[in-house]
Amino acid sequence: MEIKKVPTRDGFGKGLLELGKNNKDVVVLSADLTESTRANWFKNEYSERFVSCGVAEENMMSVAAGMALEGKVPFCCTFGVFAAGRAWNQLSISVSYMDLNVNIAGTHGGISVGPDGATHQALEEITLMRALPNMMVVVPADAIEAKKATIAAASIPHPVYLRFTRCGVPLVSKEEDEFIIGKAKTLKEGSDLTVIACGNMVCEALEAAQILQEQGVSVRVINMHTPKPLDEEIVLKAAKETKGIITCEEHTVVGGLGSAVAEVVCQNHPVPMKLIGVKNQFGQSGKTEELMKYYELTASDIVKRAKELLGA
């Protein structure tokens, strides 16, 4: 049977629709990629609160800041590469320095974007956004979580960066699950080692844990949907209770989720770690599955690294 896969950007689109209905202050700004980011779902229902910005991301972020100063709750929609990279200084000075409730939706995160290639595959957003004071970073594991994260971001009086996928991701959570920004979730208990993942890598981590389980290795799996503020408590508990930690992100290992976890672990309770992610490389064109294999981001890569870590 084919597993049901839903792009997390679809969850974002649904979240915006619900916000449109329940929160009159929510406005959606779009830098031309309105259909690709699913901002068009909101636009079709609430056109009077939709702001077309054209292909001008820097302006969009500062305009959103101005609207937030007047009490609006803006969501800025574009691809992750353009949101985090191109408009970084605007997100720093116009948005984070003033600590405004501006929410940034960066879709098309990671190499799973596929054929568009390196220019459209965002690999540095967690790093770039994590470095900004006041900015929170959320990478939902599936479309259900993406919807909840979108709704939650609107009620947080600080800037939130939301990272979504273009490609379909299997559902790993349920509608009734609680979702709190900044509070990670243990999806599977385990005592030998811990895998901490975010975004579409959560599904790979669960699959790897299953394979390892069959081989007699007990793996704890944590869904770290919020790389910032990081749930330090759950990380330190894992460091103390298991023999090592593997982090997984479809993102550069330079400064991303793995770095955030390592910062906590090595300063408080050092244990062996492996960081799985893109190794300071650019992406390239290809099918999602081909790219995930090439960049060693699959469940079998996690299994391999787990065995290295355990010295087996």
């Binding site: 406005v27 820097e58 500062s62 101005g66 200084n89």
Partner: protein
Amino acid sequence: MMKKRPDINELKEKAIKIRSTILKMLQIAGSGHTGGSLSEVEIILTLYKYEMSHNSKKPEWEQRDRFILSKGHGCPTLYAVLADCGYFSEDLLWTLRKMGSKLQGHPQRNVPLGLEASTGSLGQGLSIALGLALAAKMDKKDFRTYCLMGDGELQEGQIWEAAMMASFNKLDNLCGIVDNNKIQIDGFLKDVMNVEPLAEKWESFGWEVIRVDGHDVVGLMDAFDKVREIKGKPSVILADTIKGKGISFMENKASWHGVAPKEDEVEKALVELKKQK
């Protein structure tokens, strides 16, 4: 609708007072932007003493007109005018750029003090002002938004992204002002990166353009009167100014862009300002 105008001579004297305050602030701070602070004095003074609806006793009054200083490095002038309007005591001015001061080297948002937005990274202020104006239109609020830019700042691409979007949205509640002092930190704009013809550029982006002498308070008031009547598009006032205006040895010198005067230089400058009364 004609507004009541302040006494012209009082306004001119106020400009001299503000200039001397700016020089003292910068000398005490030991660093800062002298040239561009002196060139914008009449512009900011006319905004606060004539054009804008605001009340220093109620800084968070919802219907107040908003002012965004996009050329954030010119904040000494804004701080001096805000103090003169009663937003805070003059004592605070002497803490400019000092550790822990609310008067940062570039403005940090503090609405109770009259500071609407954090600016200083050039090119962002017009977009922020646009956001305010757009939100006002959405909510059918009547306040107006003013944004002062530097002419060198117009080299930033973001300004033109905002210029395009403001006219696209017919934001007649938004007024830009360019402090056209023709000098940036590296030298004359015509040598560093020419931005002229400015009137044609703004016009082609769909803005109403008015060109005035930026040191003529009457001309500035006339320009603001005219702008208030323009409907269906944003307006920009191109205010031709002199960098370092009012101090002979500072005028038209790029070297005074980002340097504070020393004690003896302030003394000399104050003597010059006294003669202008």
